[in-house]
Symmetry: C2
C-alpha cells in the first residue's frame, strides 16, 4: 500500500488523471490549469453539486471505495437527467484522512470513471486535499440541454399524470439490511473481545488460541445476501436513469415537471406540487415496489408503502406528463402512472388500498434533522 | 441562537437564498431545482472547484465565519481571474457539525455574498448537509472568457518577462502571527487551568474567585495586532486580483501564461515552466515584499525571501508577458517584473542578492505532505 504523502498532491493528481481523454466536444481543456475550459454555444449549461460526508452519507464498513466513487458520480448525473439534460463534465473534490492510501483513492476513481464512461462524461478537474477526520467528497456535474427541452419542477398542471420510473423503497431496504448485518457483526465482535479479555486474565492459552481463530473467521465473514442482491445493489450501486430520459425522448413525451427521487417520493412530489402551485392524488396500490423490497420490509416488520414513500436514495425519476400522453406511456414497462395532479386547494393526498385519504407529509431523509 | 434542525435542510436553504437575485445574463435559473441553468452562447465557460476542510485549511480559533465565507469565495474567483476570465456563478456546499447554529451559517453567507457582490457573481446553488466532525466547504466557480483572451499556464516562451502583482509572503506571515498568538493563549489557559485545579483541591475559595475573574479576562483577551493589520488581513481576508486583470486589459497587455499564487511563488513558477517547457531566472531583489512582512519575518527569525517564495495563500497573479510589453508595465505600480523566461536547459534559477544562483524547488504548502 502506498502512502499518499509519497506522491504529494500533484503526483496524486497526475496518477489519477493522466490517461483521461476528453470525449465531448464541449470539453476544450480539462485537468491541469486554474480552470477547465468548456464550450456551449448552442445549448443551456446545467450545473449541480453534491457533498457526501463519511458517517453521514456513507459507511465504509459496507460500501467499497469503488462503489462509493460510482455512487458519488451517479447521484450527480441523476440531477442532470432530472432536468431532461445530458451530463457532460464532472469536477471531483476529495478530502482524505490518514487511513487512506493511494490504492484506495485509485479504487474511488475506478468507480467514478465507470459511472462517467457509462454516460460519456469527462472528468475535468477538482481538488484533492487532506481531512483531519473522515472522508469528504464533493462532486459538481455540468451538463447541457436545449432550452425548449429543459424540464423544471414548476411546470405541472391540473390533470397531468404523475409517473415514476423503476421501483421505490429498494435502496432504503438495502440500507436497513446492511445496517442490521453490521450490528450483528459488531455484537459478535464485542462478545468475542470480552471472551479474549477473560482468557487473558486467567492465562488460558488454549482458550486464547481457539478465540484467535474464531476472531480470524469473524473477520473473514461475509453476510449471505442471496435473494437480496437487488436491494443491496440499489443501495450500493444506484443507477442514474438516463435510459428513461432517452425512452421519453424517443416516444416524443415531454414531461411538464420532473425531478429525481433522492429524499423519498413524498418529499419530492411535495416539491413539484409546491413549485407548480397544485395538488396531487397518489394511489398507494400504483406505487411500484420490487418483490425483494416487500420481502425485506415484511422481515423487518416495516410498512412497505411507508418505505417506498419516505425511503431515500432510489434515484428514480418522478415526472408529470399531459393527460394526452396516457396511451404512449402504457407501453413502457419501467414507467408507472401513480396518480395525477389536481387543483392546489384539493391538497396533496395519498389514496390507500382501502380507499382512505391521507395528506402526504415529507418525512424524507434529512441529515440536518438527525 | 437557532438550532439548524429547527429549520431543516430546505428551511435553511430558503433562509440563505431567498433574497438572491441573479445579476448576470448568463444566469437563467439559480437555486431551486435539480440543476441551475446557464447560458453561454458566445464565450468559453471556465470552471474551478476548491475544498476547504476545518483543521487543515482554516482554524476557527482565529477566522470568523464571515471572513471564512469571504475567503472561500475569493479563492475560487482568483482561479477564474488567473485564466484571464470573469467569474459569473458560484455553487457552494457546506457540511456542518453540531457546533454550528443557523446564525453562524448566516455569517458565512454574509461573507460569501460580500465577495460575490464585489465581483457581480451569482450564487446559483449548492448543497447544505451535516458532518460528523468539523466544517467542510466546497465551492465551484463558473466564469467566462473569449477563447482568444484565455491565458493558460503553458504559453510562456523564452525572453518573456515574469511578473507578479501586489506583494508576496504576507499571508504566510499573518498565519505565523495568528498561530503564535493562539499558542500563547492556550499556554496561558493551560497554566490557569492548573492553578484552578490546585485551588479546588486545597478548597481555597478566595483563590478560586480570583482565578475565575482571571479566566474571564483571558477569555475576553484580544491580541494587539497594531502595526500588523496588513499581514493579518492578507491571511484572513484575501482579495482576488480582478483589478489586475482589468488593468492589463486596459493597457492592452495579453499575458502569455498566468496562474494565481496559492501554494507559493516557487511552486507556481515551476508549474508555468514545466507546462511551457522552459526555464526561468527570478531575481531575489525584485520580489515585492511589504514592510510588515519583512518586520514580522525579522521578529520570528525567518528568512523573508524564503517566506515570499514558499508561503502560500497570497492569491496574487503570476504571469509572463512578451518582452515588448516592458515599457507598458513600467507605469504600473502594483505589478513587479521579477525575472524572465529562458530555454528549458538553463534550469529554473533564483539569483540571490549577492549574485549566487540556486535551483528553485517547490516547498510550497502541501497539506497532503503533512
Amino acid at each position: 500500500m502506498t502512502d499518499i504523502s509519497k506522491l504529494g498532491e500533484f503526483g496524486l493528481i497526475d496518477r489519477l488523471t493522466k490517461d483521461i481523454k476528453p470525449k465531448n466536444d464541449s470539453t476544450i481543456y480539462g485537468v491541469g490549469d486554474d480552470c477547465a475550459v468548456l464550450n456551449y454555444p448552442d445549448t443551456r449549461v446545467l450545473t449541480t453539486t453534491d457533498m457526501l460526508m463519511e458517517g453521514v452519507h456513507f459507511d465504509l464498513t459496507y460500501i467499497t471505495m469503488q462503489q462509493l466513487g460510482y455512487k458519488a458520480a451517479m447521484v450527480n448525473l441523476s440531477d442532470v437527467f432530472a432536468m431532461n439534460g445530458s451530463p457532460r463534465q464532472l469536477l471531483v473534490s476529495l478530502a482524505v484522512d490518514k487511513r487512506f492510501d493511494v490504492e484506495s483513492i485509485d479504487d474511488f476513481y475506478t468507480g467514478l470513471r465507470q459511472a462517467c464512461d457509462k454516460w460519456n462524461v469527462d472528468i475535468i478537474g477538482g481538488d484533492t486535499t487532506s481531512s483531519r477526520t473522515g472522508l469528504a467528497i464533493s462532486i459538481t456535474c455540468i451538463g447541457e440541454a436545449q432550452e425548449k427541452d429543459i424540464v423544471y419542477r414548476n411546470g405541472a398542471s391540473e390533470t397531468d399524470i404523475i409517473c415514476v420510473s423503476g421501483d421505490l423503497g429498494a435502496a432504503y431496504m438495502g440500507l436497513q439490511l446492511l445496517e442490521r448485518e453490521k450490528n450483528i457483526f459488531y455484537e459478535q465482535y464485542d462478545a468475542l473481545s470480552q471472551k479474549v479479555k477473560k482468557a487473558e486474565k486467567s492465562g488460558d492459552k488454549d482458550a486464547l488460541k481457539a478465540l484467535s481463530s474464531e476472531e480470524e473467521a469473524l473477520r473473514m465473514y461475509q453476510p449471505d445476501f442471496a435473494g437480496k442482491e437487488y436491494i443491496i445493489d440499489r443501495q450500493l450501486r444506484p443507477e442514474a436513469r438516463g435510459d428513461i430520459i432517452a425512452q421519453l425522448h424517443e416516444a416524443n413525451i415531454h414531461p411538464t415537471a420532473m425531478m429525481d427521487i433522492s429524499d423519498g417520493l413524498s418529499s419530492e412530489i411535495l416539491h413539484i406540487c409546491n413549485q407548480s402551485h397544485c395538488g396531487c392524488r397518489i394511489y398507494e396500490n400504483k406505487i411500484p415496489i420490487d418483490y425483494q423490497t416487500a420481502v425485506m420490509a415484511e422481515e423487518l416488520n416495516m410498512n412497505v408503502t411507508t418505505c417506498a414513500l419516505n425511503g431515500g436514495e432510489d434515484y428514480e425519476l418522478l415526472f408529470t406528463v399531459p393527460i394526452g400522453d396516457h396511451e404512449k406511456l402504457n407501453g413502457m414497462d419501467n414507467i408507472k402512472q401513480i396518480g395525477y395532479i389536481t387543483k392546489e386547494s384539493l391538497g396533496k393526498m395519498l389514496i390507500t388500498r382501502d380507499g382512505n385519504e391521507f395528506e402526504l407529509t415529507a418525512q424524507g431523509w434529512n441529515p440536518l434533522k438527525h
